[in-house]
């Protein structure tokens, strides 16, 4: 993964224009990763550390709740930020839902896209990944946790007993991706009507509005009333 380091080096860390704090935070993140590896052992299957910036850790499904508990009680990550999921499937519709003008300007070769599933930071083996972020607000640290969820058994243990705030996030994740959270106190739809079919944030769920009426894209293709329909505006006039 071609992750780039932080662009905000001068404002990184607690104190402005000093190099030491960034390095100190780094040590803290490396120490955190070490502590997690020590506790989880084999269950920690992947990690990625961006010096002075961020930390990703991927754990096994069976250790998901234990990781949360350990982070909260053992390491002081009391703050729950969010929980959601990623569907790594490349859109089966290719690029036909993107604006065709944008694609032409962006020099996309064809409307087909490579259908191999490629997971992001900290790796992965499955199409769906649950990810969550928790903060240690005392030391200014945060960690993004990821977990593979296999296609044939889309379920994972609920975080609600650990972080009460996970309740609504898991409800949202369930209706948007169809992932079941075992042990959740009331796993019903949060946004969508109860009788809604499908999981809208999955990549194979078509965005119907876009299929009905194609998006005009970067260029203003609709002419103003006074304008003549001379074809000057197609290449120029990008709104960048």
């Amino acid at each position: 993964m071609s992750r780039l380091s932080s662009t905000d080096t001068p404002t990184e860390g607690e104190v402005p224009n000093a190099e030491e704090p960034a390095a100190a935070t780094d040590e803290a993140r490396a120490g955190l990763l070490e502590a997690l590896t020590g506790e989880l052992g084999e269950a920690l299957v992947g990690s990625h550390l961006d010096p002075g910036d961020d930390l990703w850790v991927r754990v096994e499904r069976g250790a998901w709740v234990h990781t949360g508990e350990f982070l909260k009680t053992g390491l002081g990550f009391q703050y729950f930020s969010f929980l959601s999921a990623i569907d790594w499937l490349p859109s089966p519709f290719g690029r036909d839902m993107d604006a065709q003008v944008d694609l032409r300007l962006g020099h996309a070769e064809s409307s087909e896209i490579d259908q191999t599933i490629e997971q992001g930071v900290a790796g992965g083996d499955t199409r769906f990944q649950v990810f969550a972020r928790v903060n240690d607000i005392v030391n200014g640290l945060a960690v993004t946790l990821k977990c593979d969820v296999p296609d044939d058994d889309l379920s994972i243990d609920s975080w609600v007993p650990v972080y009460a705030g996970a309740n609504w996030h898991e409800r949202e994740c369930r209706e948007m991706y169809g992932i079941d959270f075992v042990g959740h106190p009331g796993l019903r739809n949060i946004y969508l009507p109860a009788e809604f079919e499908g999981n809208p944030l999955r990549k194979d769920y078509p965005l119907l509005a876009r299929r009905m009426k194609p998006w005009p894209g970067i260029v203003d293709v609709e002419k103003m009333p006074g304008e003549d329909d001379a074809d000057e505006a197609t290449e120029e006039g990008s709104d960048s």
Binding site: M1, T7, S81, M97, T144, A164, Y191, P200, I218
Partner: protein, 390 residues
């Protein structure tokens, strides 16, 4: 039908009615009160289904989704510069602040940094949208306890801030002004002098609110000790912004993890309150507005010159990677988790909005309170519905 069967029938009906009354009495244990989705105290279309025992709330269940617009899905088919148009509408009272974390996340992935002047103006507008946003809260909080005047004062003075935002960006509510690598435009002539005047006005508005609302006996009676959130509960629910600072947690992303903005070059203070009740949340926000006006003044004084746009390609392709950037928005911590696959459009955008977490504590917090306090507690948590539903 004879007369006697009429009487029999009447007796039967009376017996049934008596049974029904008994049934009603038995069921009245758990009366259900539906508040919203169209209710003046809900800032939009939040619906709350409350089960009551007399005046006391047994359980309260917020029902969302009346304004769910699916921005996370829509962002996947829009180019990066187009996404700001969508996310402007998440928290529509402090729109500019919504754009900043997304733009910063994209800049982080692209390894681009906005020039200093753009960063300063960005921070000025960021703080001004905070002032415009929280001013609305200050007036509205008076309204929750039955005082109408503060609301009018707030709308009157907020107008000046909106005028300044409009003068700089061209949009009162949806500026759409932030760009990857800088800003759309420089400040117009005369803007700085006028903004100084407005900031002074907003400080006197804060004083006015302090006298009018904060010291008011009824206001104190309705908010002191009501809706207390202990710090550890607030943290596990992911509360942020003034809601968590009012519980004594000294955490502000602007100070603790500044990214792409210039807050750490300014002289300002993070306000906290130990009580964690509705009053504390009002008090902290009032101090924050005042602090923001001071920040804007300092930034107007120290505004560097130079370009406002870094060198960025015309067609923006963001390199593959994942980045999460969060900022301290008016409503609390707002962050965007952007996954890019090197395309024109993001692969996945997770929007971590402040109000979603802030209001998820409502079922816990409203348990056991009295009906009139539902309104003040929800008002003091301060949510914007677009920020919950996204």
């Amino acid at each position: 039908m004879t007369a006697i069967s009429d009487r029999e029938q009447l007796a039967y009906l009376a017996a049934q009615a008596a049974d029904a009354r008994v049934n009603v009495e038995l069921e009245s244990e758990g009366m259900t009160l539906n508040i919203g989705p169209q209710h003046p105290a809900t800032h939009g279309t939040l619906r709350i289904v409350a089960k009551l025992d007399g005046e006391q709330v047994l359980s309260a269940d917020p029902v969302m989704g009346y304004m769910h617009r699916g921005y996370e899905k829509l962002a996947e088919v829009r180019t990066y510069p187009q996404v700001t148009t969508l996310i402007n509408r998440i928290d529509w009272v402090g729109s500019f602040a919504n754009e900043v974390p997304f733009i910063l996340a994209a800049e982080k992935l692209m390894d681009v940094e906005a020039p200093p002047r753009a960063q300063w103006i960005r921070t000025i507008l960021f703080e001004m949208s905070r002032i415009a946003n929280i001013t609305l809260f200050l007036g509205d909080m008076g309204l929750q306890v039955g005082a109408v005047t503060p609301a009018f004062f707030a709308f009157r003075d907020r107008e000046h801030v909106l005028n300044q935002i409009e003068a700089a960006t061209g949009g009162r509510f949806h500026p759409n002004f932030d760009r990857i690598g800088g800003l759309k435009d420089d400040l117009p002539a005369g803007w700085i002098t006028e903004t100084r005047r407005v900031m002074k006005k907003m400080r006197s508005f804060c004083d006015e609110m302090e006298q009018l609302v904060q010291g008011n006996e009824i206001f104190e009676a309705r908010t002191r000790g009501i809706g207390v959130i202990p710090a550890d509960v607030g943290l596990s629910y992911g509360l942020s912004g003034a809601n968590i600072r009012a519980s004594g947690v000294d955490w502000d992303v602007r100070r603790d993890n500044p990214c792409g903005m210039v807050h750490n070059e300014l002289d300002w203070k993070v306000w906290t309150h130990p009580d964690g009740d509705s009053f504390a949340r009002f008090w902290v926000r009032l101090q924050e507005v005042r602090e923001s006006t001071k920040m804007v003044d300092q930034m107007l004084d120290g505004l560097p010159s130079g370009p406002i746009m870094a060198k960025v390609p015309r067609i923006i392709k963001v390199p593959a990677g994942e980045a999460y950037v969060e900022t301290e928005n008016p409503l609390g911590v707002m962050g965007y988790y952007v996954v890019s696959k090197g395309d024109l459009t993001p692969f996945r955008v997770k929007i971590r909005s402040a109000s979603f977490n802030n209001i998820s504590i409502a079922p816990w917090l409203l348990k056991g309170v009295y009906v009139p306090d539902i309104v003040t507690i929800l008002g003091s948590l301060y949510f914007i519905l677009g920020d919950i539903d996204r």
